[in-house]
Structures are given as C-alpha cells and as structure tokens.
Subunit: 334 residues, 4 copies
Amino acid sequence: MRIGIVGAGVQARRRLAAFRPDDRLTAISALNSGDAARLAARYRGEAVSSWLEVVQRDDVDAVIVASPPRSHADIGIAALRAGTHVLCEKPLAATSEEAAAMTTAAATAGRVLHCGFNHRLHPAVVRLREFLASGAFGPVISAMAVYGHGIRDGYESEWRCDPACVSGGQLMEQGIHLVDLVDSMLGPVDRVVAHVGRSCTLPAGLEDEAHLMLGLSGGGVAMVRSSLTQWRNRFLLEVTCRKAILRVEGLGGSYGDETLIIERRTDGPFTTELLEFRGDDQSWRREWQQFHDLVAASAHSATADDAGLRSIVIVEAAYRSASSGQWVKITDGQ
Amino acid sequence: MRIGIVGAGVQARRRLAAFRPDDRLTAISALNSGDAARLAARYRGEAVSSWLEVVQRDDVDAVIVASPPRSHADIGIAALRAGTHVLCEKPLAATSEEAAAMTTAAATAGRVLHCGFNHRLHPAVVRLREFLASGAFGPVISAMAVYGHGIRDGYESEWRCDPACVSGGQLMEQGIHLVDLVDSMLGPVDRVVAHVGRSCTLPAGLEDEAHLMLGLSGGGVAMVRSSLTQWRNRFLLEVTCRKAILRVEGLGGSYGDETLIIERRTDGPFTTELLEFRGDDQSWRREWQQFHDLVAASAHSATADDAGLRSIVIVEAAYRSASSGQWVKITDGQ
Amino acid sequence: MRIGIVGAGVQARRRLAAFRPDDRLTAISALNSGDAARLAARYRGEAVSSWLEVVQRDDVDAVIVASPPRSHADIGIAALRAGTHVLCEKPLAATSEEAAAMTTAAATAGRVLHCGFNHRLHPAVVRLREFLASGAFGPVISAMAVYGHGIRDGYESEWRCDPACVSGGQLMEQGIHLVDLVDSMLGPVDRVVAHVGRSCTLPAGLEDEAHLMLGLSGGGVAMVRSSLTQWRNRFLLEVTCRKAILRVEGLGGSYGDETLIIERRTDGPFTTELLEFRGDDQSWRREWQQFHDLVAASAHSATADDAGLRSIVIVEAAYRSASSGQWVKITDGQ
Amino acid sequence: MRIGIVGAGVQARRRLAAFRPDDRLTAISALNSGDAARLAARYRGEAVSSWLEVVQRDDVDAVIVASPPRSHADIGIAALRAGTHVLCEKPLAATSEEAAAMTTAAATAGRVLHCGFNHRLHPAVVRLREFLASGAFGPVISAMAVYGHGIRDGYESEWRCDPACVSGGQLMEQGIHLVDLVDSMLGPVDRVVAHVGRSCTLPAGLEDEAHLMLGLSGGGVAMVRSSLTQWRNRFLLEVTCRKAILRVEGLGGSYGDETLIIERRTDGPFTTELLEFRGDDQSWRREWQQFHDLVAASAHSATADDAGLRSIVIVEAAYRSASSGQWVKITDGQ
C-alpha cells in the first residue's frame, strides 16, 4: 500500500519499521518538520508541510494517524472522507463524541478505521484469547490487570502532559489498552467504578494513577490498575475461570519475558503450564498485517473501530465515577 | 497461664499446639463433645459440657474463643465479665454492634480482648510492617492484595456455609485478614467500594467472591480480592511506595514459600531483593506470645480489639457498598 | 510391627513420627541414654542399655539402625541373624566390604534389609521416576544434580566430623542420596571421575565439597555437586532427555517448595510444565510404608539393599578417582 | 575506523550493526559473494572477490575475521602483517598452534588482535566480574556453568558440521565462551577432565555434548556443560564464593531475561538480590567499543589475544582428557 503518516514520533517510527515489503511511504507531515524530514529521507517518502496535504494526496491509500489525540478526529475524518483507510493510534479520539463521529465517517465512506491496540497482537494475549474463546476453562469469574511503568525524568514537559494534546492522563493514554482487552476478551464491560489520583507532579486533570473495577456482563469483575508509579515496566493480565487461572505476564523487552501461565484447578499437586514467548516484539508487525487484511477485505471494520469508541466510552465513565463516587453504567453502543 | 477453650476444631488445635511450656489447658467445651473430650485427653485438661462452665471456672486465666462467629459475643462478654482475658478468633463477632459491645466489656473489665489476626505475625508481614513504619521507602501510593483458595468438596455442609453460624461469606471469614492488614499497616481505611458475588453454590447471602477498593486516609487506594475460586491457596500483599514496591507472596505450606520481595525504584538495571522465610508457620506461636505480652502488661489492649471491631466495620461497609453501588465512608471509631 | 531402634537422634525421631498406627516401639538404645529414655517415655517403649539387647529381644520384628555409620554393619548383621528385618540409615555401612557382608547376611537370613533413601519417595522424585520409566520423553542424555547446605555453627564437633563415626564426608553422608538417585533412575553408573575438597575447617579426610562426573551405562553423563558451602539448603536434579528436560527443585521446608519442572522440546513458544508439591514432607511416611510392604511380601528386598551397597561402591570409586586423577570403573555387582 | 570484513554471515551482520558512527565499511569478501554484495550495498562498502584483497587494501584500518575457524589463522596473520588491527571471531583459530602463531604475529606487528568473546560484555557478566574482583564475597569455591540450545533443523548441513570449516564441535564453537569466562574470571584453569559425546547425528569427531570439570588454580572446581540438546537457549554461570552464591541466568532475547542473582550467606531468612538487565543485547556494541579502545591505546592487546589462545588450549586439553580418561594439566602459557 501507499501510506501517508501524520506524526513523526515514536509511533511513526514503530509503524514504519513494521511495513511489509509491498508498503511504501509516500507522504509524511509532523509538527516537528525536522523529524518528518528525517523519516522521509530514511524511508524515501516526501515530507509535506501539513496533515491536510497528506490526507488529500492521490498517492495515499491509507493514512496512519500518529499525532497527539486531540488532533485525531479532524485528521481521521478528513482522511476517511478523502477515501483513504485509516489506522489511528489509541485513544481513537479525545472524546467519545469525536470517536463516534470518526466511526460514522468510516461507515459512510466505506473505509477501514482501525484503532491501534497492538497489545491484542502480543502472542501471549492472542493465545489467552484463543483459550478463553474455546471455552475449555469455563466461564470467566474474575480478572486482575496491571499496566504501568515508572515516570521518567522530564515527563512533565512531554506532550502527554499537555492538556492541549491529550484529554486524559495515564488511564486514557496507557490504561486504555487494558480497558480494551478486558472489554473485548472478558466483557463486554457494563459498569465501572474508579479512583484516579495524582501522585507525581502532573498538571491538574491528568491522572497518573487509576484503579478501576469493571463489571462484566457475564457477572464477573475485573480490577485494573494503570499507573506511572510502577517503578519498572509491568504488564499483568490475570483471568480466573471456572477451571483454571490464566495469566499473561510481561510483554518482552523492558517488560520482561512474555509469558502465558495456566494454573489448572486440581486437588494437588498444583499443575502450572508456562508458555514463554521470547524474542522481539512482533505485535506491531502483526497488527499491521491485520490492517492489511481488513483493507483487503474491503470491509468497514466494525469490530475494530467499535473498540476505539468503546474503550473511550469506558474511560470517560471511569472518570465520571471517580467524580461521583458511584458505579457508572456503560450505556449501549457507548 | 491456665487456659479455657471454647471450640474443638482446627483453630482450637492450632492454639493448643502453640502453647508455651508454662501454659496449661484447664477446661474445654465444644458443640461436638467428642472432639472436646479428645483434646482434653491429649492435653490433660477437662472437657466440660458448656461454654458457660469454661468461662466461669476459677482455674481459667484466659479464654480462647474458637467457636463459630455468631457465638463470639456472648462467650467473649461473659468471659471478660468473669475477669478472664480473651483471645477470640476473627471475625471478632457477627456484627459491628456485637464487636463494639465486646470492646466495651473489655474496657470495663480491664481485661485483654485480642482478636486473632495471626497473619500480622507472619515473618514476611512483620518485616513489611517494619519497612513501612521506617519510612525508608516513602509514603504508600497504592496496594493490591489477594487471598484465596479453591473451594473444597463438601464445603457447602461446613459451618462456614451455615447462616446460623456466620454473618458473612469469604470476605467476612477470610478476606477480613487482608482488611485488617490494609487498615492497620497502610490505612486507616476511610472508604470502600465493593462487589461481592457467588460463583459457587453457597447459600444465599454468603459471598464466595469479594472485590474491594479501599480508600486510604493518606490518599492511596488498595484493591483487594478475597475468593473461594483461587484454585490454589494464594496470598499476595503488594504495596507501592514512592521509592519501591514491596510484595509479600506465600505464607508457607500450601500457600508456597513465604517471601518478601522488594523492587527498588531505579533507572535500571532493575534491582529486586527477596527475603525467603522457609520452614514451618510460626505465626500462631508468635501471636500467642503477643497475647501473653499483652496480659503481662496488665493493660487493656486498645490496639488489638480496635482491630477486631474496625475490620468488621469495614467489611459491613463493603457489604453496604455492594448493595448500594456507591462508595461507603468508614465513620469514626467505627 | 514391633520395632526396636538403635539411636536416638534426629533420624530416630523422624522414623518414630512416621510410624503407622499398627506399629509399636518396643525397645530403644543409644549412646546418649538420656535421649533414648526420653523417646522411650514419649512413645511408650523401653529404653535398654545396649544395641545388643535391642536386636536380641523376642518382641522386636524389625530394627531401625539410626546410629552413626561405623556401627551399622555390626548392628545390622546381628539383627538380621537374630531374624529381624532391618531398616538402616544411609550410608548402609562404613565400607563396601561391610555393606556386602550385610547384604549377604540379609540373603542368608531371608530378611529384609532396606537402606533408607527417603529421597526416592519425595513426590516430585517419584513422578520423575515414573516419567523416565514411561519412556515418554526418550532416552536420558545428560543430568545435573546439586545437593547441599551451608555449614552450621559447631558442625565440627558433631559426629559427622568424627572419623570414629563416619568413613567419609559430605559426599558419603549426603551426596550419596544423589548417587543413589542417579544410579537407580538414570544408570546404572559405570564409571566416575571426581574432585573432593575441603573449603571449611573439617578434619583431614572428610571432604565438605565433592564434584562428580558419573558415566551412565546408556552413554550419558551426570554432573553432581554435593557441598557444605551451598549457603542455603538446595536440592536440584535435572535430567535432559531426547524430548524434554525434567527438573526437580526443592524438597519442601527449608529446601523451598518441591517442584517438578518439565521443559518440553519445542520450536517455540517454549512450554514448561510445573508440578508443585506443597505441604509437609511425606517421604518418611512413604518410605516406612514401603518397608512395611517389603516385609509383608516376606521377600528379601534385593533392589533395596543392592542400592545401599552400590551407592557406597560408587562413592568409594569417586574417592579413588579423586586420588588418582582418573576415571574409575564401577565393577560388576560392586 | 575504516573496516574490512571477511565473511558475510550472521556474525558479519552483527558486527556491522554495532559499528560506531565514525566507522565505515570499506571492503568485504565472502565465499558467498551474493551475501557480500548485499551487505556491501546496504553499508555502502565495496564487495571484493577474495579475503586477500580485503587485508591488503590501503583503506582498511582493521579487519573483522568472521569466516569459519579453519580460515582464521591465514587471514588474521596476513592482516596483521599488512599492518591492520584484527578482531577475530572465536575460536581464534582451528588449533592452539595456529592461535599461538596469530598471537606472535600480532606482537611482531604491534597490532591489536582481539578475539571476539562478546559474552564478557553482557552487563550481568560485567557486574559479576566486578563483584568477584572486589573480593566482597570472598574466594571462589566452586562454579557451575551451562550453555546450550536445541539443535535446529538442517544443522547437519551448516558449516559448523563441516570438518573442513571447524576443528571441533559444540564445545569448541560455543562452550568456548564458558571456558573463557571461567578461565578469565575464576581461574586461571590449571587442569581439566572431560567427557564429550554425540547424541545427535553430527559427523564423527564433532561433539554435540561436552561435560567438563575445570580445576581452578585457587583450588576450586568448575563444572561446565555445553550442549546442543538443551532444547531451549540457556545460559547459566553460577559461582559459589565464601560469602555468597552469584548466578548469571539468561542473556536476553531467546535466552530469557538477563539476570544476576546474589544469594547471600545468612542464617535466615534467606536473602537474595536480583539484578535484571532487560532490553536489547548490548554486548556487541560494547565489545566493539572495547576494540576501539584497544586500538586507540595503540597497544598490543596482550590480555585479549591470550584469551583467544588460552581458551583453545583448554578445549584441546579437554578433548585429550575425553580420549585418555584422565585429568589433563594446562601447561604454562598454553
């Protein structure tokens, strides 16, 4: 495919590194024009001066929206209207209203709108999803999930701490991965109660800590912690089923070896099965392949963009719960 | 000391096995008179026909109340009024009103009323408490705790599933250990939101699953899971501080090796310290020594019986939250 | 059975604690007559003044020889000649000549001579043996085994450091468990090369460190380390087969949770199976049951006493190798 | 530096990826001229038709010898005589005679000859070496090391199984890393006894299994296993000192997270410290920097090329021991 990219940061580089041999960068724009120029040179694309140019070019089949969240809706909707497919980084938009408008635009245009939830494609998570879908271990009773890392020096001056760029803190930016995994694998989520806090010196309104209890429509509960005070990168997703406990720990790299642990229900001795997925992070490459498949199916990717919308709906409900001190219901569709 | 015991089940046997050489069983009673007789024979005490006899004997300095919770208040108050000290198994009573009455009775009688929270005396927990108290790792930001085991065959016919014996399910009976640890080490707890459920076939009103978020007066949050569907005995108490994460895993025996893990905040490499406390469970012996010390101090043990009362107050608040769908405040004193 | 015991130390107490309900201590003797008297009182047997009395009494069906190794042969042979069965602690005797004489005495008398290798009865080892015997994982290629603990204060004044009591150091006393396991499960062993050393201040001739390479008749090799400088109790037995690696780690208690780990040969992801055997050490009870079974079969236990003899033959060969600097062949029978 | 490379396989690619910004590939040759051409194109160097051209060019300051071992001596000596510095992959040469000749050539030419033992630069190994050098944990008593992986499909047809390319099997090719680490960190090694075997279908004379006992001049012993039947990539280097046990496990990537574990000698509870070095393998980059430093010092790198020679001397002694069934002494210098 011929790809345009808006943004030239970490995510743009990750996406470029995951290109298939038949992909080609045609145009790239970014607020930091120097970064855009460098990537353009390296990948033999053209650096252009505005995202509008990127989405309106004839030689762009799909646009990767890798700019800060507050710009997603404008860019995504323009790209979809221009007839390109869109892979947009999470969160899909700054608000659920914007996310819904993007989803509608994709449906109207008949183009793929895919929200980048690469964690779904981590091999341990893929395997977990397969086990759960198979029903081999019985229904889900409870879950516990942790995603966090230690705040880094200078974090306060990054765009993630700029209310002009983002509409939420650690929960909206990173915890949303867990929200999506719980909702799509264990849910749907039908209500939430939450506590959000600021332990580090972030700007008002941007939480660095979130603790959620997510009610699952099947009756179970998922406890979720998303945090900037984890002090080392950590990913945990543990699911208690009727016949076993399944646990994903680690994502490789700085998160430690990626492992799926299955503790089967027994009278003893306790039997545990470990699946270790060592080596490089393949999730970006796999998600990109998935995007290709969606485009090839020429179909509007209902599942995928619902995920982008639903995850924001749930995070917003969590924010409301943190204010009201009550469980907040997730209303249908949103 | 000369000890009377009410009850002849697992707890009675554990308490007897933890006696000091200068302790002597003088009287024991139990609903199951055969069990009482057997223990009396083995430990050279006298089996008597009612708990009233136990608490009223002249040769009893202290009474261990190891009968089901609904009988605790009557027995405990009678014993305190008779001038004996009391070590009462958790939960201290069936309700917070009863627990408050016991606490008052102890104060009036000037006798020790100690609620049996032996988990406080597990060496890894003791060390964790010391670390937290030292302030070396900074203030507490967040905590996560899991206590559970798999439901055993025939559990439905045990007294723990009999509403005539107990006033709550897994949370009141086992999760209360975590509630006490969080409240006494990380708290005080000032509010709670909870979900309780029944995944196994327990009688109505007796939960086998509880998920709690406990608000800490210092601003942090503790997420707690107490469950009968853990499938293997598990104990986890993880505390995130400003400078480190501290984690107790295992309690020895069927819970796996008891370990205190300290993950220090670093830029890398990640440094982790493990303290392994292998060997037999010493908590019963240490708690018994603690009771001796309290008695020796001839003091009313304000701390200890407050713990018995407070933990029930919090559990009851959790039950109310599970009904109302709201955070429930822990009111002062109770 | 009616049991006589020679010795009143740790082993005597362990054996008594493992008695079946139908077993009865009739007579016990020990160099330390106070210890013998105490055990006699506790278990309602009679303390007698010499081991000769124990083995010659009419009311003794079986004798447990739990005295230091240099006394084993005299006591064991006398007991067998007196018509009792014998369970003798390892090493079976001080020398292979003595061990062979005991074995001959048992055959002549038609009585059971069982050498106490309780490690065979640890559940993880039992399971490992079953897996190996099943052939499911293909032939054994290599093995690695570690058994050790840290030297304790005052060790130098224990009988294990007294050449009048023992005929070898850590290898003969503790490493012999590994030698037996390798020989009986992975072997037979047909040659050995060894290094023995003294890192701590033990008497001349009593090694505190032994490193062995054991040649297996099937072509593989086992590397063994037995040591007093392990600094914490450790047990490891790892076997590489054609299709998997199997590893026993821990023995419970101060050795850490007992675990059998199976790493299957795969192209990835790596799959590992853990079997955890938590709880008390059952090996003494199971070995005692095994002894009962042997006696009940009224058979001379060829397997068992061969093990006692063979293990000493191999240890002696290791000592010779350590002197000569060469591989030493294990000659047939011994 | 201006770099010439002989060889265009995995090692050549690794070395190129570790170049500093001020390094430049000028010439590359390989038996597989297509591979050389591809690397030349990618790194903007020139593909030439013979290694002789590479070593004789004017625009080459240093030569990386990344061809099979039997070609190392010819290439390395020619390069050194031509006045270039040499980084040569391990084993330094096919025989100790060749390795000695290379070492002599480097001394004569006054050029750096560095044998590529990148494992020394893994951060956990670096930290282990520092701890040992500090003396903080007392003298080394014993060591145990394992390095292995599972044989891959088609291995038999790789150059590692071609006696025209290599002079040894898994020990010479991979185990030599452990030999070097033991010799340089724990040694020097003064004698060896070994068993080598062929469990897989490799050509005669090329072992896929080696078990070594290495005598350390300080009195301790190191047991080493190098194997193609480990079934998953594994690296273990455990050192028992007087006051602690130190253990490197994993090398990152397919070997699992790289960890340095320190088990301190205590009376209990057991204290263990873990240092985790997560993320990418930095050893190649660090070794390359080390080579730069050696060149900058304009010094003949005595230490480094001794290592290349010594490690082969020890491996050859191990082969002789495997034939003779005796300990073989490592003679001085070689």
